[in-house]
């Protein structure tokens, strides 16, 4: 059978040539399709419609009084968040001390405490100026109304939100992105004395953590 196919394709006849051309064309189309899907996957941000405008007072996190406070939420297993941490490392080089930083790992209620342990957990733990925190049951995530791993919140000391979004250019991709630029820009602007400032939103690329977070309505009952 294979030999017949081979003979048919390799014969220098018109049908053979058309068949070969068709195969090559199909191949190119398949390639384009794959590339397109990959591009789509990487470039479509997660859903993070956080309406938060002020620092949630219920949060057990401490809002810094002398500088902005950056809070980012991570899914402990999200492979795309490695890009966020990589970008954060770049951020820390210039802005590590310009703000208070919390790295919050959300753990679902069904998961054991050790579930959050992994490369991301360990890497954040090694970062200077970053306070690593476990958000068991997604309480804090709920308070901040987080939707996607890698979602960052920048608050002014007065509790007003300055920035909300991701700091990677695409899903799982490092590199310059509008989110990181906007984050650094807002911090520089705050320190430059620009008060009050408008909230800036950028797309967040990462795994969804919404369903691991506890909605604020259920928080009291839970607590």
């Amino acid at each position: 059978m294979a030999a017949l196919w081979k003979k048919w394709f390799t014969e220098k006849t018109l049908p053979g040539r058309f068949a070969l051309g068709g195969v090559v064309t199909l191949w190119l189309v398949a390639l384009a399709y794959g590339a397109y899907q990959l591009h789509e996957y990487a470039s479509i941000p997660g859903t993070s419609p956080s309406p938060l405008q002020q620092w949630p007072v219920e949060s057990r996190l401490q809002l810094a009084a002398d500088r902005p406070t950056l809070v980012f939420f991570m899914h402990p297993k999200c492979p795309c968040s490695r890009a966020t941490l990589a970008e954060l490392e770049r951020f820390l080089v210039g802005y590590g001390s310009a703000c208070q930083i919390y790295g919050v790992f959300v753990r679902g209620q069904r998961h054991a405490p050790s579930w959050i342990e992994g490369p991301l957990w360990e890497k954040v733990g090694l970062m200077e100026n970053v306070a690593r925190m476990e958000d068991a049951g997604g309480v804090e995530g709920g308070r901040f109304q987080v939707g996607v791993s890698g979602e960052c919140f920048l608050f002014a000391p007065d509790g007003s939100i300055l920035f909300h979004g991701g700091i990677t250019p695409a899903r799982g991709h490092i590199g310059d992105s509008r989110g990181l630029q906007a984050l650094m820009s807002r911090i520089k602007e705050w320190h430059a004395g620009a008060h009050p400032m408008e909230r800036v939103d950028t797309p967040v690329f990462g795994c969804s953590i919404r369903r691991m977070c506890t909605p604020p309505a259920a928080e009291g009952a839970k607590l």
Binding site: L20, G34, A35, L38, H39, P169, H173, C207
Partner: protein
């Protein structure tokens, strides 16, 4: 063998080989990329599974898209080329698709590494790998893919390719520049590689062409060799002789079938020297010795041997070996043939037996002939001797006629006997030639002398002369020459009634060592018709059957002459027409010898310029005289008649240039020579002319008549050249010549010799009483006192009582023959004295003379005895004694 570079085959083959090499490279690079693409696909999947195996939605996870992308995209990238490699390996579309796929992997890798600059090196590595195709177009395709990818993603998704939000166009240009730069160097490398491959292809094509030519030649040579070998095999198989070949050591390594059959050996048996075991034991040592000698010396050899085969069959084998040498001259063995000559050998043996029988027959025949000859000659001796003696006694005319008839008949019978013996000797191949220096002129003149009487008795002119330029001093057998001449001249005289018989001799050819002399005997006889001429030289044939009765003879003379001429390396023939006479001619080859040293008395210089008139009605004689006289430098004129002669002589006187010599022929019509001489004598003006008369009747001319006619000399015809010269010289230098002649005459006169020698004491040893009487009478006539002995014993007894000067010794006597007696005598003399012994024998066969000399005899006379022979023998004794060659 050096093919030109632009040879069509080389060009075509070069292109084919180059294409083949390229396609080989394409296929191998295809396979390389099959591995490479597969590896990248697998590595991609592994990396995806390792780095991002799952994607999460809260606490729920599912397979990460990267894993799916690795599987799908990597699969599409890898499987497309793999499919083409399978379907169309080495084809253009395949390598271009591979280029696209490989670059796709690079783009994917860059994308997945967020545009990491390190992963951009994948592009360069991929281009380098694609350069393995040695097809610049593949690099172009790959580079186009790369540039498109960089350009598009740089413009629309810079993070994917450069890891930045927005990339300036120069970055894409920079990347493109590096790619183009690498392409440039890779293309240069590709071009060099292709050129190198092309050159290799060219060399291979060239080599293939040479190989093809060589193979063609090899095939051709192989065919020729096969044909040659087949031809050799057929020849060898069909040859009627055995063929063999040996190495330099003599070991056989090839023999054909006939050889094996001849030696009764299997085909493998002859290898080495096993054949020697078959050589007959009586000959083995000789054959092996000769054979080994030839082998060691590298020489050709011919061996004849007997062999005894396994079947105990004896064969005669003739083996011929030829030494063969390499081009460098090295001896490399022998090739040869063997021939079964058993049949021939048997024939040879039969022939040898037959030959022995024949030889024995011949010997018996010769013995018989000798005996017959002896038995016939003995009574013949008596008849001739006695009739000779009888004729010397006073007889009445009738008695003389009877006695003369008996004498002539006996002479004829003896001549017949001699012919028969000669013919018998010739037929038996026993005729031998004595080789000695001789004077041709003297031999010819002596021959003519012998026959002169016979010719003159028939009133025939007998003329003989050597043409100018004919060599005179030769080496050969003058006796045999004389025999042929006598035969031909005698025949000519016999068959000629009137006219002349002329013998002319000339040189027909030759060189510095040899001369071919032509003898012609012309007569004016009856002539011979053509039919008879053809049979003339056959034995027992005569010109005319009826002539046999008229002219007599055995018919052997010409046959004997022909054989003798052939033995003298000559030819014999006849030119004749009936009624017009005949010319018998023959040639004979003789060695040339220098003239003997003689004290020449005659000075021919004196004769130069002397004017001579010859008067002869015979033109041949006149021509002969002209040649002789001109040869001596004399000026000669010729007159046919006496009247002409007188007129010419008188005219010469008037001119003041008189003839100082006139040679006259005696027998002329109308006016004879004598009458002419008388007329000359009577003319005072002609007194200054000397006269010589030539005559056949000279002996009968009265000296007084000659003197009265004023004739100074008279010569017998045929005129001997030497005598004529001597005569002329004497006339012009008379005193000296006469003294010399007198001295010579004295030396040659037997009576004078006898007088000088005194009385000789002679012993005749002869058993036959009749012969005793003949010899004694002859000696008595010569004035000698003789004694007789009947056998050898009596001779020895006589010697005890007396001393003899000469012994005439018969060879065949009872009790003690002549040979034995001679040996005894010589033994008794012991060199202190020497009795002159003259053999008398009736055996005229070969070897008799040698046998006599070997026994110690001094001279030899064949029976029947003639008085002249005895006188000649006694004279030889006297001359020898005078010269001191023998003692008294």
């Amino acid at each position: 063998m050096n093919a030109p570079d632009n040879h069509p085959f080389v060009q075509a083959r070069r292109a084919a080989l180059f294409q083949e090499e390229m396609e080989k490279g394409f296929r191998s690079t295809d396979r390389l990329f099959v591995a490479c693409l597969t590896l990248q696909w697998v590595v991609g999947i592994v990396c995806a599974l390792t780095i991002s195996p799952e994607t999460w939605d809260g606490a729920e996870s599912r397979t990460h898209l990267h894993v799916l992308a690795a599987v799908y995209l990597g699969g599409v990238l890898a499987l497309g080329p793999l499919l083409l490699v399978w379907l169309k390996p080495g084809k253009l579309i395949t390598r271009h698709v591979i280029a696209v796929a490989q670059m796709g992997f690079g783009g994917l890798l860059i994308h997945l590494t967020n545009g990491s600059i390190e992963t951009h090196f994948h592009i360069f590595v991929s281009l380098a790998l694609l350069a393995f195709y040695r097809d610049s177009k593949v690099l172009v395709t790959a580079s186009v893919v790369v540039l498109l990818d960089h350009t598009i993603r740089g413009l629309f998704w810079a993070e994917s390719i450069y890891g930045v939000v927005k990339a300036p166009i120069w970055r894409t240009l920079e990347h493109a520049l590096w790619v183009v730069l690498e392409d440039f160097f890779l293309m240069v490398a590709i071009q060099r590689s292709r050129r190198s491959a092309s050159e290799i292809a060219f060399k291979r094509a060239h080599l293939e062409l040479l190989n093809t030519e060589v193979e063609t030649r090899v095939i051709l040579r192989t065919k020729e060799l096969a044909a040659s070998e087949e031809r050799f095999r057929m020849l060898s198989a069909a040859a009627p002789v055995g063929i063999f070949q040996t190495d330099p050591s003599g070991n056989k390594f090839y023999t054909n079938r006939q050889w094996c059959e001849m030696f009764s050996m299997d085909e493998k048996e002859p290898v080495g020297r096993k054949w020697m075991e078959l050589i007959h034991s009586e000959e083995r040592e000789r054959v092996i010795r000769d054979w080994e000698s030839a082998i060691k010396g590298g020489r050709d050899y011919i061996l004849e041997m007997r062999i005894v085969t396994k079947e105990n069959v004896t064969r005669w084998i003739l083996m011929r070996g030829k030494a063969i040498f390499s081009k460098s001259g090295e001896f490399i063995g022998h090739v040869g043939t063997t021939e079964d000559v058993t049949f021939r050998k048997m024939h040879e043996q039969e022939l040898a037996q037959a030959r022995d029988s024949a030889l024995e027959s011949v010997r018996v025949k010769s013995e018989f002939l000798a005996n017959v000859s002896h038995e016939i000659r003995t009574p013949m001796n008596a008849i001739i001797g006695m009739t000779g003696l009888l004729l010397d006694t006073p007889l009445n005319p009738q008695q003389r006629k009877f006695a003369s008839t008996v004498h002539k008949s006996a002479e004829t019978l003896l001549s017949l006997l001699n012919d028969i013996l000669d013919f018998s000797k010739i037929e038996a191949g026993k005729l031998t030639f004595e080789i000695e220096d001789f004077d041709l002129q003297e031999t010819v003149e002596n021959t003519l002398d012998l026959l002169a009487d016979t010719a003159h008795s028939k009133n025939l002119e007998l003329i003989g002369f050597l043409k100018p330029g004919t060599p005179r001093y030769l080496r050969g057998d003058p006796g045999r020459l004389r025999q042929v001449l006598v035969n031909l001249i005698h025949n000519a005289i016999k068959f000629t009634d009137t006219g002349e018989v002329v013998l002319s001799i000339s040189q027909e050819g030759g060189d510095s060592l040899r001369s071919i002399i032509r003898f012609e005997v012309r007569d004016t006889g009856i002539g011979i018709d053509k039919e008879t001429q053809g049979k003339l030289f056959q034995a027992f044939t005569q010109a005319d059957g009826s002539g046999t009765r008229k002219y007599g003879g055995t018919g052997l003379g010409l046959a004997i002459s022909r054989r003798l001429v052939e033995l003298m390396n000559g030819r014999i023939g006849i030119i004749s027409s009936p009624g017009e006479g005949s010319t018998f001619w023959f040639t004979a080859c003789f060695e040339l010898t220098p003239p003997p040293n003689t004290d020449e008395v005659l000075d021919s210089e004196v004769l130069k310029g002397v004017r001579v008139l010859t008067v002869d009605d015979n033109a041949t004689n006149a021509i002969m005289l002209h040649h002789q006289l001109a040869n001596w430098g004399m000026r000669d004129d010729h007159a046919l008649h006496a009247n002409d002669a007188l007129r010419m002589m008188r005219e010469a006187v008037e001119q003041g240039d008189l003839y100082r010599l006139a040679i006259l022929d005696m027998q002329m019509p109308d006016v004879s020579g004598l009458m002419l001489a008388t007329q000359i004598q009577g003319d005072e003006r002609l007194q200054g002319t000397q006269l010589i008369m030539l005559t056949s009747l000279g002996a009968r001319l009265d000296p007084r008549t000659l003197r009265e006619a004023g004739i100074s000399e008279c010569l017998l015809k045929p005129v001997k050249q030497a005598k004529l010269l001597e005569c002329i010289a004497r006339l012009f230098n008379a005193k000296k010549s006469l003294e010399a002649a007198a001295a010579e005459q004295k030396a040659k006169d037997p009576a004078a010799l006898q007088k000088e020698a005194g009385n000789l004491n002679i012993l005749v040893a002869e058993d036959n009483p009749v012969n005793q009487k003949v010899v004694l009478f002859h000696l008595q006539k010569l004035g000698y006192v003789s004694h007789v002995a009947a056998n050898g014993m009596e001779v020895l007894a006589a010697l005890n009582h007396a001393r003899f000067d000469i012994i005439f010794m018969d060879c065949q006597m009872p009790e003690m023959d002549g040979y034995e007696a001679t040996r005894h005598i010589r033994k008794l003399e012991n060199g202190k004295r020497h009795t002159y012994i003259i053999a008398l024998t009736a055996n005229s066969l070969n070897g008799d003379r040698e046998r006599c000399m070997e026994a110690g005899m001094d001279d030899y006379i064949a029976k029947p005895l003639r008085q002249a022979d005895q006188v000649a023998a006694i004279n030889r004794y006297l001359e020898a004694r005078k010269s001191g060659k023998i003692g008294c």
